[in-house]
């Protein structure tokens, strides 16, 4: 199921992976996602917990440090590639939109 799920990333998955381009713990991610998106996207604590577990199981992130109960993670090459693929997909969508409405419609 996770493989199928990650074939297209949800907004929340996308931003969690994006946060992990630099080492972060879970609580950092909870704060970073809303600030990165101007409050447009928030990730619930339960959702983040499950996503981190599943990303780790898929090798998209790795654990870098453990301080007590606080674990830090970093994006792996596989995760970076997956994020890149999602970016290309979003860009392709944006291109399609531009072609349909022109530059004027895109602004």
């Amino acid at each position: 199921m996770p493989r199928e799920k990650f074939s297209t990333l949800t907004e929340q998955m996308f931003y969690v992976l994006l946060c992990l381009r630099e080492e972060c713990c879970g609580m950092d991610i909870l704060d970073k996602v809303p600030s990165m998106t101007g409050g447009r996207v928030s990730v619930g604590s339960g959702t983040l917990y499950n996503l981190l577990e599943q990303f780790r199981a898929e090798g998209m992130i790795r654990e870098t440090r453990t301080e007590g109960r606080k674990r830090s993670y970093l994006l792996t090459d596989a995760g970076r590639a997956r994020l890149e693929r999602e970016y290309q997909r979003i860009q392709a969508q944006a291109e399609d939109y531009r072609r349909a409405f022109g530059e004027e419609g895109a602004t």
């Binding site: 199921m1 799920k5 949800t10 929340q12 879970g26 609580m27 909870l30 928030s42 990730v43 619930g44 604590s45 339960g46 959702t47 983040l48 917990y49 499950n50 996503l51 109960r69 606080k70 674990r71």
Partner: protein, 460 residues
Amino acid sequence: MREIKRQMTLYSFYDHTGLERHFERMAAQGWLLCKGGQYTWHYRRIEPKQLTFCVCYYPRATIFDPLPSVSQEEFYDFCAHTGWTLAASSAQLQVFYNEREDPTPIETDPALEVEAIHRSAKKSFLLPNGLLLAVGLLNLGQFLWRLRDDPIQTLSNAGTLLAAVAGVILLALCSVELCAYFLWHRRARKAAERGEFLPTRSHRWFQRIMLVILAAATVWFFISMAGDGLGGVMLVSMAGGVLVVAAVIGVREGLKRCYFSAEDNRVITIIACVVLSLAVSAGIPWLVVRGLDSRPQPKAEDLPLTLADLREGDFGGYTRKWQGAQSPLLGRYNAHEWPLGPAGQFPEKVYLDYEVTLVKLPALYGLCRETLLHERDDWGSEGPEDVWYGYAYVPTDPAPWGAEEAYQWLPEDGLDNGADNNQYLLFYPDRVVTISLQWDGPPTRSQMAAVGEKLGRGPL
């Protein structure tokens, strides 16, 4: 003013929406959830306030965990970071509350939420309900088999009827729980594909109705067993069942308090459950036998009809037996009076046996009539030269018995192997009497009238 309140939980395991709304209502009334249990929730008194509750599921937790695992604590830290405080937990079910206005929900991805609920439900909901469903089906199957085999015995046993009612209620509860869950799960997965959350729907009204029916059936059982020694035995049996459940929970919770690992706790609790169940299962039949044995030998006045009512003679030293079983549907009573003692003590060998089936629910009269009329269809005996003597109920004049119908148990085809045939089946408006008058010669008209008066119309 009490500070702690306990409440029985009637919400389904997966019904997070119903639970959240319930806990929010309780907080608004001044009761904050503080402890979760398998069967009850505990609340402590607070100033009434509007709190937002969130029920979520941690699939890796078990009911045997002495403490939350490190990763579970990490999950709690994530929740605390967004303002969610853990109110209580019970196995996989985790209940949080938040004092902030419009807080970020704990679950913001519907697909992940459905997945977590389903993984938890497999452990704590689907397996137990599936097992209970199987028990309910077995119970119902056993009852139907007994009903087919001996309907009068089955319907006149209040304990059997109560077990059947409990089995049907169990079956209905588990079926509704499982069907409702699978329906919700299928819809929730489809909704999650669209990025939507699907709230759960409570069916507490159904659970309440079932519990009221079970309570009414139990009360009905004890009322119908009033004055019968077996009622007490049944009460002890039910108490035994409750005791086993309480003891098993006690063992599990005790081991948790002593920080036994979840695996060790699970093994020890299962062993305790098996041992206690076997002990109670063995103890109850022993109690039943003791209860029956301790009953005093019935006196002549305990029997509605005795040999002294029918014949001249001294029957003081005769052995008597009088037993009955009754339910609000049927009653079945047996009596025997016979000479049991050293040779020569009773010069006149006469015996009396009878069985009265009291039909309390008139709709069952036809069933009783057919059953009693045909229950001996395959009876007979082997005579000299391997000749098989078949017997049958042959209609006879009911008037001397004061009955509506009367039959005599006689050899088929007019053959006679010399056995006494003073056996009769007599039908009265609300009862059926099977009587065996074992002495030489047919009963006189006055003896028949006495049987009709004492057994056909008299109190039992």
